[in-house]
Symmetry: C2
């Protein structure tokens, strides 16, 4: 892909982007502030920039005068970069570049993809379900063994397969399948978890279907369900699809789902709904991949404990009652159709085991999928969400815990909070002098609200620029109309009503900030309490793995600025995306994962944070930005000191 | 039970019978001939006897004159014995008692019951499904392991149970079942066939259901289906029921069923019908035993290969086509409800494996149930029927074969042949001088026809009395109106029309006799060919086991007289009744049977008689009564010589 260099003047800051990048997004990426409030619809026309060298596509607007356009002015939010360009930002505030340069380019965690090649190298690429192509000899008077004996003998002689056992439905079709293509047949075999146990023949089809080896991996999230269809030979993903978990109308979080399940036929209803969601997704990915349903031999599923129990029809009542006991850690292999899934009759279902009621199969899947379970590196695994799950350890030992962070970073309990969908403010910067904002929205439309990554960034930017203090209170001395008091609560106006889709000012109130601080405090206390419980410090960690939908947007530096993440070398941080789906995928293509997962779960010591007094102490200490103890955030501390000095200098210069 | 001694005069023959025995049946048992044609309805009044000492109940009839009654005459067929009596038979022919005394009392094979006590002694009384009663500790903050972990730990600590795995439906109920009776629960566990494999938890019920351990054993016969409900703790049978296999209207034998199955949805129809029959039987035995369906954990089934494949929905087409290949020898354990059986959702089904298309699970079940598989004794196992199956061997080796005997002994291809049901002539003797018959019918009603045991006895009696010769032809020199020629075929009138239910003479024609000889010839040739193939003689056998519905009525001496059985010491012959059901029962209560059956089947070498030239030679040699080679029947030969001499003497005496 062609790349282009953009030079931003007057800051002399260069950034290399892919051809076709939106100019305002490139600026945000580079840490360049351009006032912009309308999300990229071109209505506020605040993001005027001058193209000094090169050219951009589009960027025109009736909000620009004919003269301006001739001079080279464009709207940044509408401009697409096709070649190297030099762009001048009309600086509205006489901000010193040194201040701007303190905003470093975004530090995202490196993304880890499923590591198929290393699986292949280590010989672990043996799917739990395999196909074998055989041609058995025709029966004769001299050899009139049964059809089944004939198949088993051939599999033994030609493929080295042993300890085979037929499933009844295969036998029911056997005589006809065998003769349909002149005794040539493709046999589907499920491997045992442990060596020495039976290999089950779950399917036979006439002729050569050897190349058609597919699996479906499903992540049942509380909010969203994702499905993916995989080639189990190559590991390649053929199609994927995500949709809201249909249960969402019966409660946003696991607790409200359990409450609903406890009433009347609630549990049954929730089971049916999530099965329906999964089946919709399966239909979609089958359509998209054009795979024959008959060629799907395995469905792997991962979910938190509540979602798993609801999906399987296991009463989740005791999950939310002390002492928080799940029905089981391990789920037996079963037929996918027995779980209501619309797949072929022979496909098996594998479900990730859980550690406890609040450290579920999704986390175990992440631990497996990320490879944390077999690494020497001391790792902190965090799945951020309403419930944050934390795992610390390596291949020798692991401890884990869950804490309820609340839904603030998913937009819950925040006045203009919203899910990450079209129109959500997802990125934010501020002019350090005028305190005018720059916003980016999902899909570049007028803003409707603020999603998790927007809230996180906003909190960090407002804090670093002194708009809010360590306790999350607005600095009411600042000269900006954007900070105001409404109904006795201070707030910052992120977007004025006329530039929103909702005809109301989008604001961030001190109450919102409080909720956000509480959420990040809960998570931070989680890591710290768990680390302390095993006698470790942040510095002892070799690696931090972030999982969960939220993690993908996180600007690491900003997450550390507000104390959502402990301050550490961003290079140590890896993002694995949907860890649950990743784990589900892995177990579709590696039977070793299935073998290892039992031991891994047994190794994961569950830690009940609510039972640990130091958790509350750590929590209270974390209810500041970034923390009461700035020694834990030395880099930020250094930056804050520099910034203060620059501010002082500027005030002197004025 | 009280017994009574009956002395028959003038023969001075005593017999001890149970109180309440019918006098005419006692006479037949003792080998005493009393003319009797009407089956016991009292209409022919030919069975007049004189009670000389003691008294009988009933026996009165308007066909007896007042004077006769006062003298002590009674109808034997109506008389019930309540005490010791002396009975005089009015002898119509001046038959020498020495001739009559040649008719020895009936020699039935000793009946072998299921040998539960020796199973218990040998420690093999471990049912494949067992129950355990446990009370698990209540979860607490200190111990909040999952419900499943708690159950498994308790089973391990208190019952020494290991390698446990839950079935999904159990997990679905687990949290509620556990708490219903305060953590007391009865756990149903399926044992693995081989040690070291998993023990599956298939059911849990709240509270103590330990005593309720039941199994259902089913024999699916081509003609009749039997079911029995067993206590797996004691082996006791609580109820049993038999009914015609509903498939019977689609063909009498396996071949015609297969032919029907090959047309359109025939196979599906036959499957549904037999499942319906089995479910009717299950309903009946559940009703009778008052067992809770939930407490039945296992259903064991045995059937011939065709019946098994039809029941399971496996196309039986190739069973009747050379080279006669069955789909499989072994059937996997599965859920009984998956087979359409109306039992509880957790009950497992075990199906007996077969050796070949014509040596099926019913035979294997008989071999297992009779204990033949683990004995040192060289045994000949015979299941007589339209298809006769033969097994020879002991615990070291076994060879087996099937031969098509035809349905003659089941009444097929015999003019007045019928199934063993009400009104069928089941026993027969003849006055050696007048050739007048004595008949007994099932349920003592007027005769409708002749069933298998009746035909066998008739053939033997007619032959020994010289009414038919070695080739089965009537001696037309005899002075009796009962031998006559109709439509160019000689026949013997067994019952005159006026004493039947069918208003026609019941006869036995030479064509009937031909068919019977062919049937017994086929079976005899089967044993001999199989014996010869392993280099053995009849005399080498330690034991003969008879199985099958037919076998229970067989008078061994008569069976040897016609050459249906090889001549041997009757003490060596054991009758096990429905061997198939016996085997099914055994595998309900002994997991060792399940372990051994695989090896046994592997040890059973199948012999294709139709492929063996000597089979045809043996068959042709056996198409005589008893055989072309009288040296094979030395005892009979001796008797025939004696009889001839007596006859000569009598003729001289006249």
């Amino acid at each position: 892909m062609k790349t282009c260099t953009i030079t931003f003047l007057p800051y002399k800051k260069d950034i290399v982007v892919n051809e076709g990048e939106n100019l305002i997004r490139a600026a945000m990426e580079a840490g360049i502030h351009i006032n912009a409030s309308c999300g990229g619809e071109g209505v506020c026309a605040k993001c005027r920039i001058l193209v000094e060298q090169g050219a951009v596509d589009d960027g025109l607007s009736e909000r620009l005068s004919k003269e301006d356009i001739e001079k080279g002015y464009r709207l940044a939010c509408k401009s697409i970069v096709r070649s190297d360009v030099v762009i001048r930002i009309p600086v509205e505030s006489s901000v010193d570049t040194s201040v701007l340069n303190m905003t470093s380019p975004r530090k995202k965690s490196c993304i880890e993809e499923m590591d198929i090649s290393s699986l292949k190298e280590s010989g672990k690429f043996i799917p739990p379900v395999e196909k074998r192509l055989i041609t058995v000899s025709e029966p004769s008077h001299e050899d009139n063994r049964s059809d089944a004996s004939r198949v088993i003998q051939t599999l033994s002689d030609e493929c080295g397969e042993h300890r085979l056992e037929f499933e009844m439905p295969v036998l029911q079709q056997l005589p006809d399948v065998l003769r349909e293509k002149n005794y040539q047949t493709t046999v589907t075999i499920v491997r045992p978890v442990r060596d020495g146990h039976k290999n089950h023949i779950i399917h036979m089809s006439a002729g050569d279907r050897l190349a058609q080896k597919y699996a479906i991996a499903i992540d049942i999230g509380t909010t969203t369900v994702y499905g993916e269809i995989l080639n189990t030979e190559t590991g390649e993903s053929l199609a994927s699809y995500g949709d809201f978990n249909g249960q969402i109308s019966y409660g946003e979080d696991v607790i409200s789902r359990i409450v609903f399940a406890e009433k009347g036929d609630g549990a049954e209803k929730l089971q049916k709904i999530v099965v329906h969601t999964i089946n919709k997704i399966i239909e979609k990915i089958i359509q998209r991949s054009k795979v024959d349903l008959q060629d799907i031999s395995i469905v792997t599923l991962a979910a938190n404990t509540t979602m798993t129990q609801l999906f399987l029809g296991i009463n989740p009542r005791y999950i939310r009652r002390a002492p928080y006991v799940p029905a089981t850690m391990f789920y037996p292999q079963c037929k996918a159709t027995d779980l209501g899934l619309n797949v072929s009759n022979h496909a098996i279902a594998l479900i990730y085991p859980c550690v406890s009621s609040y450290v579920g199969g999704d986390i175990v899947a992440g631990v497996m999928g990320s490879g944390m379970y077999h690494t020497d590196e001391l790792t902190l695994f965090i799945d951020m969400g309403t419930n944050a799950e934390i795992v610390i350890g390596n291949k020798e030992w692991m401890t884990c815990a869950a804490c309820s962070a609340g839904p603030a970073f998913e937009g819950g309990g925040v006045e203009h909070g919203m899910r990450a969908s079209k129109g959500a403010i997802e990125d934010f910067s501020i002019d350090p002098i005028t305190f005018e904002p720059m916003i980016l929205t999902i899909s570049n439309v007028r803003p409707k609200g603020i999603c998790g990554s927007g809230l996180l960034t906003m909190l960090a930017v407002l804090f670093e620029n002194g708009v809010i203090d360590q306790s999350g209170k607005y600095n009411t001395d600042l000269k900006t109309p954007r900070i105001r008091k409404q109904n006795d609560v201070y707030e910052y106006v992120v977007v004025w009503a006329d530039q929103t889709q909702i005809d109301r000012d989008i604001v961030l109130t001190e109450i919102d900030i409080d909720n956000l601080i509480r959420a990040k405090g809960a998570m931070y206390s989680g890591y710290m309490t768990l680390l302390t419980s095993v006698g470790l410090n942040i510095d002892d960690l070799d690696r931090i793995i972030l999982a969960g939908g939220f993690g993908s947007y996180v600007d690491l530096e900003k997450a550390m600025t507000i104390g959502l993440l402990p301050e550490t070398d961003p290079e140590k941080v890896t993002y694995i995306g949907n860890g649950s789906l990743m784990g589900a995928r892995m177990s579709s293509i590696s039977n070793h994962i299935r073998q290892d997962v039992g031991e891994t779960v047994a190794r994961m010591t569950n830690f009940e944070l609510s039972e640990t007094p130091s958790y509350m102490d750590n929590y209270v200490a974390a209810l500041f930005l970034p923390h009461t103890d700035m020694k834990l955030f030395p880099n930020l501390n250094e930056r804050m000191i520099q910034r203060k000095q620059l501010n002082l200098q500027q005030n002197v210069n004025k």
